[in-house]
């Protein structure tokens, strides 16, 4: 199992459209180490690991072990070279039994009968050695996520793979399960394997990793050993320098528009996602809410917009006109099969100006929509064009036009510029600033530091459902 040579990644470069996801990244992973790859959302961690595991073929760069090169772009080739990846989203079949899932990795040939017990015996043997037993006949979907994670890892380990990549394995685990996982990772390390851990929680990285590579905006900003660094240093590398001075003059804060006290939200399976959040936003204010994705931002935004029931706490909304710009324009902001006109009309059709009893005044609506297209510089050749055929930036302008047009006094926006180019981003920012200048309040939930810095008059960060951290570094440390 032990390796002699380190795994070397050299000059990895990958572009997605205009986005440079990886920019000439090199790193060395030594046998017998747990190597953390750190970075914010979109820093390039997953792209790098997907390249290693053969799920994409990078434009440039190579991977070597000693003098042996690994051909990239084929998962099978990467597996042959001993690289196994444990995905963040489980690749398990929930309806299958544990044994059936474990056998999946072994079924390279369809010939012969399915001898589950025989196929999975070595995996169970391994599980016993790790003191990590799983029950073979249980239905996978019924098991707690921690155990599912275990099955996923065992599946990867059942191949004699000297290199194991784990993509944010602790995201769904409780503290005890995390300790359990770390114990197993230490065992694997002591066998001389390479364990690569994609992470964003600094406390965990400091607890388990031997060395760390930090990525930011697709570039490697640091590669060092853990004893030589500190949490603050790591956070600084991840986040970079953030401008502290606002480049616009917000108006004096006015009346309170929304006030939450002890607001808590649970998801469908009753797991708490937002935990006792207090906040208050006035006219002329931009409350920025930052943090790493998946720490309860979506749930908080939806609760504030009145789309989710509260599990506890109170929410007072003093604003009559609330506009919500959802995070995902494709799935929530727009009806993609609808025309530009019909999409602009999603909130407009409720206004009396466009109504005659139950009927719609489509003639008026068209004139108004023409106006919107001019005002928000939406590039389309006809109002009847389906919105699916617009570029992402123009789609977002449709959402923005619709939300801002009837002059809401409270705006709740989630990652309003995700996926947009610089030009469209600054357009969206200008419109949002304009709304605030005119007396609206804005709650801006964003994972983009620069966006928060450009707009927010004050910023808080979410960590595990709590809105308590004052800086991203604090939120990342997770000790708040």
């Amino acid at each position: 199992m032990g390796l002699k040579d380190p795994l070397m990644v050299e000059g990895m470069t990958q572009r997605f459209g205009r986005l440079l996801a990886l920019d000439n990244v090199s790193a060395t992973f030594f046998p017998g180490e747990v190597h953390a790859v750190l970075g914010e959302n979109g820093a390039g961690k997953s792209t790098l690991m997907n390249a290693l595991a053969g799920f994409l073929r990078p434009e440039a760069g190579q991977v070597r072990m000693g003098d042996r090169g690994i051909e990239l772009g084929s998962p099978l080739e990467s597996q042959r070279a001993g690289i196994q990846m444990v995905h963040q989203h489980f690749m398990l079949v929930p309806q299958f039994s544990v044994d059936e899932n474990l056998a999946l990795a072994k079924l390279h040939s369809l010939a012969g009968g399915l001898r589950l017990a025989q196929l999975t015996r070595p995996v169970h043997e391994l599980a016993r050695q790790l003191k990590w037993d799983v029950s073979g006949p249980s239905r996978t979907g019924d098991l707690p996520v921690g155990v599912q994670q275990r099955i996923e890892i065992l599946k990867a380990l059942s191949e004699p793979s000297p290199i194991l990549i784990l993509d944010e394995p602790t995201a769904v685990l409780g503290p005890d399960e995390v300790q359990d996982l770390f114990r197993v990772l230490r065992t694997l390390k002591s066998e001389g394997r390479i364990v690569i851990l994609i992470a964003h929680k600094l406390s965990e990285v400091l607890a388990i990793a031997d060395r760390v590579t930090v990525l930011r905006h697709g570039r490697k900003v640091a590669e060092t050993s853990i004893p030589e660094t500190t949490a603050d240093q790591l956070a600084q590398w991840m986040v970079g320098d953030v401008p502290t001075q606002l480049d616009w003059q917000p108006p004096e804060p006015g009346d309170v528009l929304i006030r939450a006290r002890g607001l808590s939200v649970r998801d469908r399976s009753k797991v708490p996602q937002v935990d006792s959040v207090d906040l208050e936003v006035r006219r002329g204010e931009v409350l920025g809410i930052g943090g790493v994705d998946g720490n309860g931002q979506t749930e908080l935004a939806e609760a504030l917009a009145g789309l989710r029931p509260l599990a506890a706490g109170s929410l007072e909304v003093f604003s009559k006109k609330v506009a919500y710009i959802p995070q995902d324009r494709q799935s929530e902001g727009l009806a993609v099969e609808f025309s530009v006109l019909e999409n602009l009309f999603i909130s407009g059709h409720q206004q009396s100006e466009f109504r005659w009893g139950p009927f719609l005044r489509l003639g008026r609506a068209r004139l108004w929509a023409q106006d919107m297209i001019q005002k928000y510089k939406i590039k389309c050749h006809s109002l009847d064009q389906s919105v699916r055929s617009l570029s992402g930036g123009n789609q977002q302008k449709v959402v923005l036009a619709r939300s801002l047009d009837h002059q809401p006094d409270l705006l709740i926006a989630m990652n309003p510029t995700r996926g947009l180019d610089l030009h469209a981003t600054s357009f969206v920012h200008d419109r949002l600033r304009e709304a605030v200048q005119n007396g609206a309040g804005l709650i801006l939930l964003s994972t983009d530091q620069d966006e928060l810095a450009a707009l927010a008059t004050r910023t808080k960060f979410m960590s595990r459902g709590r809105l308590v951290a004052d800086t991203l570094a604090e939120a990342l440390r997770g000790d708040a």
Partner: protein
């Protein structure tokens, strides 16, 4: 709109081509058969009235289907709603025989609308509150409706002599008016025609119709805009069931005047391809229903060549829908490419 109508014409041409192909495959003389069908359905005024009378129940159920489908509710239960609608009407006739004739017809039709609406609303409610797939619940509710029909015409709604599994004949005054003693043309045909226009206006010119289409296209967007997609979906199901129930009521008061176990005649199932081939548009559904109505009316003439008779219509429908699904996917991709290039 003009583009839409052009699309419908293409579909109609395609349907004719499929019909001819079906004849060829079955070894029936192609053009003579087609001629006989055309003659049987459009040859004389009386032939044409038979086409219209066959079109009516199909069209009303197809309109019902398309309203639900536009809201993203895949209502397969037109048949059951048709039956429950008809039965509700028969129940009024049975249990309120004292109603004056002038009110009787209105009361029966109202009952058919309500019966269908509630029956479909149940499936909608189960979907929104309990997450039961509408496809599954409406199919199962079809079976229940057919069993209820079987029981009712042998039980509480059976005719006075208690001999046949049928309800009593409706009094003359409680039936839909007819225009001539030469044919079966009844006022329900006009109702169906009006329904096309009304459903079209409701879907495309009212706020409620807009919400239905928005919900069907993306419930997430409807919710984010502050609408309540669940409520809209239940409403759409109820309107859908109301139309299917009305179809049952019109068949009852316009054609059969009594209800037997064969009330539904598969109209509720045939409506789904009719709605689909009409591109879920009322006008398209109207044309598709007229086409299939004509086939039903004309296929009697085919008995000279084959015992298949109206079964051929089912074959044509099935082939047409398969072809349509393939075609619409192809044309959607083409349209997307064009829009992207523009």
């Amino acid at each position: 709109m003009i583009k839409k109508i052009g699309g419908f014409l293409w579909i109609t041409l395609g349907l004719v081509a499929i019909l001819l192909l079906t004849f060829a495959c079955l070894g029936i003389p192609v053009f003579r058969s087609a001629g006989l069908i055309a003659q049987g359905s459009f040859g004389t005024w009386n032939d044409f009235t038979r086409t219209l009378v066959k079109t009516t129940p199909l069209l009303l159920t197809a309109l019902g289907v398309l309203v639900a489908w536009r809201a993203g509710m895949y209502n397969i239960g037109g048949e059951g709603q048709f039956v429950i609608g008809g039965l509700s009407g028969a129940a009024v006739a049975q249990f309120a025989p004292g109603l004056p004739p002038s009110l009787m017809l209105g009361a029966i039709l109202l009952a058919t609308v309500l019966g269908g609406a509630l029956y479909a609303g149940l499936a909608g409610w189960l979907h929104v509150k309990r997450g039961v797939q509408v496809v599954v619940s409406t199919i199962l509710l079809n079976f229940i409706a057919l069993e209820v029909l079987d029981w009712a015409v042998r039980g509480p709604l059976q005719e006075k002599k208690k001999q046949l599994p049928l309800t009593d004949l409706l009094a003359e005054g409680a039936r839909l008016p007819r225009f001539s003693s030469q044919n079966d043309l009844h006022a329900g045909v006009i109702v169906a025609g009006l329904a096309v226009v009304i459903v079209g206006i409701v879907l495309f010119r009212t706020a409620w119709g807009y919400r239905v289409r928005l919900t069907g296209s993306n419930p997430g967007a409807a919710q984010a805009a502050g609408l309540r997609p669940g409520r809209i979906q239940v409403q759409a199901m109820m309107v859908s069931g109301a139309l299917c129930g009305l179809a049952g009521g019109i068949e009852y008061t316009g054609m059969t005047a009594q209800i037997g176990t064969d009330l539904a005649q598969n109209w509720g199932f045939l409506a789904i391809p009719a709605a689909l081939l009409g591109m879920l548009h009322p006008l398209g559904a109207g044309l598709a229903s007229l086409y299939f109505g004509a086939l039903f009316a004309g296929s009697k003439n085919l008995e000279a060549f084959t015992k298949a008779g109206s079964t051929i219509v089912f074959v044509v429908q099935a082939v047409a829908v398969l072809g349509f699904v393939w075609l619409s996917r192809w044309s959607e991709e083409r349209a997307l490419r064009r829009e992207a290039e523009a």
